[in-house]
């Protein structure tokens, strides 16, 4: 199934914008599987360097993960200050601690303007952005997290170990 909403400048992207490989992850900061996928995805940056662009979209399952929505909004609030990926990494590095005090301390660690960050946490448009990601994911057939799309097509294989890296290498003939 293809991505219902193509990647645009509304997305949080990392890496070369013209890269041949575009990897979209639908993830949830409180999801343990996403936590396990996080270092593997991070490694892809170093493996494929300029050949890859990473995109993260929110898919919080808030009834199973009660802190997932607040964490997603915190990442959006960090994005307002151009520090989405710094917060993304903080949240996955400290997945067991996602209460509001923790979120504030991460904001401080990555050097955010705390007053602005606290204000933005209440901004309903950031909440809406997370929900839009979720709906877009749902319409793309995302049924759990993490779900990956490589160049707009859903990746059906296992993401564990080096499976995803090997798949990308085979698809694009890029040397690791």
């Amino acid at each position: 199934m293809p991505l219902a909403i193509p990647v645009s400048n509304l997305d949080h992207t990392w890496g070369n914008s013209k890269a041949a490989i575009e990897l979209v992850e639908y993830g949830d900061f409180q999801c343990p599987h996403c936590g396990r996928a996080y270092p593997l995805v991070k490694e892809l940056k170093y493996t494929f360097k300029d050949s890859i662009k990473l995109v993260f979209r929110h898919f919080p399952l808030t009834r199973v993960h009660p802190q997932a929505m607040a964490a997603a909004v915190a990442a959006e609030a960090a994005a307002v200050q151009d520090k989405f990926w710094e917060m993304h990494d903080m949240l996955f590095d400290n997945q067991a601690y996602l209460n509001i005090e923790s979120l504030l301390s991460y904001a401080e660690t990555i050097g955010l303007d705390i007053a602005k960050f606290t204000d933005d946490l209440q901004d309903s448009s950031l909440h809406d952005k997370v929900e839009n990601d979720f709906m877009g994911g749902m319409r793309s057939g995302v049924n759990g997290t993490p779900t990956f799309f490589v160049n707009g097509e859903r990746y059906e294989g296992s993401w564990e170990g080096d499976n995803l890296a090997r798949y990308i290498e085979e698809q694009f003939g890029v040397k690791q």
């Binding site: 399952l61 009834r63 199973v64 709906m135 749902m138 049924n143 759990g144």
Partner: protein
Amino acid sequence: MLSPGTTAPDFELFSGPKEKMTLTQWKGKRVILVFYPADWSPVCGDQLALYNEVNNYFKNLNAQVIGISVDGKWCHTSYREQRNLDFPLLADFEPKGKVSKAYGVYNDQEGQSERALFVLDEDGVIQWSYLSDRGVNPGADGIMSALEKMEKEKTI
């Protein structure tokens, strides 16, 4: 498996330790029947967690989700509690699989329901159905599309 255009067979099944639920009691609402193999198995969990999450969107489209498996009522009760599920789970337990069989989605070899979805209109007529691979979570997209199509046709 029953196809669209068919009136969905009525049933009466336990929805809790003492409560029973029929299909006809939902007349006037759209109903999403979710047949699944078993409580606690990992794929079902994700599938039901997803429907729980999308439940508000379903509700806005006048639709009620109902899960059905051959698990007993006490198993369903504890599963619903543990997963915070907002919708009922019905026990197709005695005679085992009777309702699943009536809908053509019972697997004799496994002794479980298949993973199948039915979307019924306000009069209990099947408008959309889908049989998934047992190990694959079918997601919510097909259900949403079916409900939106019904909504559009209603307004015409």
